[in-house]
């Protein structure tokens, strides 16, 4: 096993940035103000783009530069901008969401990180690439996004969780395999963009139907319905 000090400067930088991506996930998880949460998400996107650029420099795979640029435009600029616009339009700028049991959520988040390292353990033992640690981090980002969707009741916050899951997936692809084939990445980016547009449509539809974006109030359909 090599220690971190033996790795090249570039790889150490990748580790630091990956750790910051994970940190951004935690700040997303606990951020009660929507505007600040969107900022945290934009930073996460920018950090993922930075990791991609570094991996591209290190490996010399050219299409990764393109992916990095695409991630930056999509995740750090376009989607945050669309969300900001939505929040302004729905007048949620000052909305503060009460998270039930915030300490518990953060503790659960921490244990998810431990769990991700445990899942990634057999992959790490394979000694493949020095960036294998990042696989565990990216799985943690995916699971934290999932946790955010479970813990938060506000539709915009849930979408942020969904999008940060996508960030984690992209990080995994870059770290473990130096990016998926370009056509797949383009397809994924297209799907994410369409999903974002549809989420925008849904914010309006939900607002129209229950006069709020508190998803907990969407509770008409259940098995125990007595009517």
């Amino acid at each position: 096993m090599t220690t971190i000090a033996q790795l090249s400067l570039l790889q150490q930088a990748v580790f630091v940035l990956a750790a910051l991506v994970l940190f951004a996930s935690f700040s997303l998880l606990a951020q009660v103000r929507l505007t600040s949460a969107i900022h945290a998400f934009a930073w996460q996107g920018a950090l993922v783009a930075a990791v991609t650029t570094l991996v591209a420099v290190g490996s010399g795979v050219h299409h990764l530069y393109l992916s990095a640029g695409m991630t930056f435009v999509l995740k750090a600029l376009l989607i945050p901008w669309m969300l900001h616009r939505m929040v302004r339009r729905l007048r949620l700028g000052r909305h503060v969401e009460a998270i039930t049991h915030p300490a518990l959520v953060i503790m659960a988040g921490a244990s998810l990180v431990v769990f991700s390292y445990w899942v990634a353990l057999p992959i790490e033992r394979l000694h493949f690439v020095a960036t294998r640690n990042v696989v565990a981090v990216s799985l943690a980002v995916v699971l934290l996004g999932l946790l955010m969707m479970v813990a938060r009741k506000q539709a915009v916050a849930q979408v942020l969780g969904f999008m940060s899951m996508e960030n984690g997936l992209f990080l995994a692809a870059v770290a473990a395999t130096r990016g998926m084939p370009l056509v797949v990445e383009l397809g994924v980016a297209f799907d994410v963009l369409v999903a974002m547009v549809l989420f925008g449509v849904f914010f309006l539809q939900i607002r129209e139907s229950i006069d709020s974006l508190d998803v907990d109030r969407l509770n008409r359909l259940s098995e125990s319905e007595e009517s």
Partner: protein, 490 residues
């Protein structure tokens, strides 16, 4: 190759055309025409494949396993389009959907067909993911088409749950690509299914088993496996009925198809390890759980479309279980079951669409006396349910019989669970069906204009498959069985 391109891309072009087409009365006919053209192209493709023409390359791969699903998809797409044209016109006249909504509906109908055909024929696991996610995106706005609070809720649930599930599948895909890069000389081919399948013994078994768990959870969400099924009854019951028929008859099959393809990879990678059956056992566990739980839930349903969507979960569970057992007989039975379940279930949803128009409600308690008010709809529902419950002489009986004998052969103890599950599901369906068909019709219940042609065509096909499986089809399914299991039927 040209037949394949026509089959897949006609729906895409049709969808674009329908998106800009303003006239509504023409829209329904164009939708029908596009579906018919795609069906014709798929028959052409299938004829070529049957003759032994090999359609394979870096982008597309067609073999006996997916070509029969392609024909099934375009066929159900065509018959549902026949049903959908007058049905949606009726819905539009009753004012539940604005004109813009109907245009969206037709465009998304074809977009959905395109994503499913692409998912079936692509040779790239990444594109498979992109198109399965695309199928969710295409249908999610259709689920909320009626804009009632329930419909919006169902669509949101569908979007979020399937989005999360499919995200986990992408993580699994990344892991497969990761494993492939260690095993293949050309890393860029690491997502091409045919290349991966050839090299599957070299794939790292640990990585592949982790990857398969993620992929199973991901695509399993779309199959509707318990406990990931919560989106399915909601989306089926609140969306427009033609969409329910397509989701149940087609989308679930496509998701299951993806799971089976990935199981083939995992089996290859795990063959030399201590647990060669890991993927199969996972499928059996999830499948059996879905089958039993959904059968019990059938009993307490109050909404007719919800009830039949639980029946879909039940049947998908049964097929997943059978693919998990592996072996030639179980796989053959599961392939046949995919076919007959699709045909029967979409016929049932079409009939249910008419029945809800007759009664003016989806609530089971208020649908009564269909056979008196409109015998065609009443008989259609009765025969459809008899077929789906697995009565002879329908095709579902044949496939379920094959599955039961395969289970008895490999896992005798589980036969008891299967038989009990079938009995529970049967009771659940009939206790609701009987009053709906034979009960006393409420005063003033009027028949509606119903086109029972698609229903009759589907049920006759299922009957035919139950009486005698035509030679070309059994040859087809046997080829697919050999592809999946590597062994042929005794």
């Amino acid at each position: 190759m040209s037949a394949l391109l026509l089959t897949v891309f006609i729906p895409l072009l049709g969808g674009l055309l329908l998106a800009v087409l303003a006239s509504l009365s023409v829209g329904g006919w164009v939708n029908l025409g596009v579906s018919a053209a795609s069906f014709a192209a798929s028959v052409w493709l299938a004829a070529g494949v049957l003759d032994g023409e090999l359609v394979t390359g870096a982008t597309f791969h067609v073999d006996a396993f997916n070509v029969y699903l392609v024909v099934l998809t375009t066929f159900v797409g065509l018959t549902t389009a026949i049903f959908s044209r007058p049905y949606m016109a009726h819905v539009c006249q009753s004012g539940r959907v604005p004109r813009r909504g109907l245009r969206l509906y037709h465009a998304m109908y074809q977009a959905f067909m395109f994503t499913m055909l692409l998912a079936l024929t692509t040779n790239n696991l990444g594109i498979l993911w992109v198109s399965v996610e695309g199928a969710t995106l295409a249908t999610v706005l259709l689920v909320s088409l009626y804009r009632t609070p329930e419909a919006v809720e169902a669509a949101w649930k569908y979007f979020i749950l399937c989005g999360v599930g499919i995200a986990l599948a992408l993580f699994g895909t990344v892991l497969v690509f990761f494993a492939a890069q260690r095993a293949l000389s050309d890393p860029n081919a690491g997502l091409t299914w045919t290349v991966l399948y050839g090299a599957s013994p070299d794939l790292n078994p640990t990585v592949m088993s982790i990857a398969f768990v993620f992929l199973l959870v991901g695509y399993g969400t779309k199959v509707g496996l318990v406990p990931l099924h919560h989106w399915l009854p909601d989306a089926h019951s609140e969306g427009p009925t033609p969409m329910s028929a397509m989701l149940s008859g087609l989308l679930l099959n496509v998701a299951l198809y993806s799971v089976v393809r990935l199981k083939m990879l995992a089996d290859g990678a795990l063959a030399a390890t201590q647990r060669p059956q890991l993927a199969g056992h996972l499928l059996m566990g999830f499948g059996l759980l879905s089958f039993l739980v959904a059968g019990l839930f059938l009993h307490r349903q109050r909404d007719i479309k919800r009830m039949f969507s639980y029946s879909s979960i039940e049947h998908m569970g049964l097929m997943t279980f059978a693919f998990g057992i592996g072996g030639a007989l179980a796989t053959f039975g599961a392939l046949l079951h995919m076919l007959v379940h699709s045909l029967t279930k979409s016929a049932i949803f079409v009939t249910v669409g008419h029945a809800t128009h007759v009664a003016g409600t989806q609530s089971i308690e208020r649908i009564r006396g269909l056979i008196r008010t409109q015998p065609a709809v009443g008989w259609g529902l009765l025969v459809g349910v008899v077929a789906i419950a697995g009565f002879p002489p329908f095709g579902v009986f044949t496939s379920e019989f094959l599955l039961l004998s395969a289970t008895m052969h490999s896992w005798p103890a589980l036969t008891v669970a299967l038989l009990a599950g079938l009995a529970v599901a049967f009771a659940g369906l009939f206790r609701h069906l009987h009053p709906m068909v034979y009960g006393v019709a409420p005063e003033g219940q009027q028949p509606v204009r119903a086109n029972m042609l698609p229903v009759a065509a589907h049920l006759l096909l299922v009957l035919w498959l139950g009486l005698a499986i035509p030679g070309f089809l059994s040859q087809w399914l046997s080829q697919a069985t050999v592809l999946i299991t590597g062994e042929s039927l005794p």
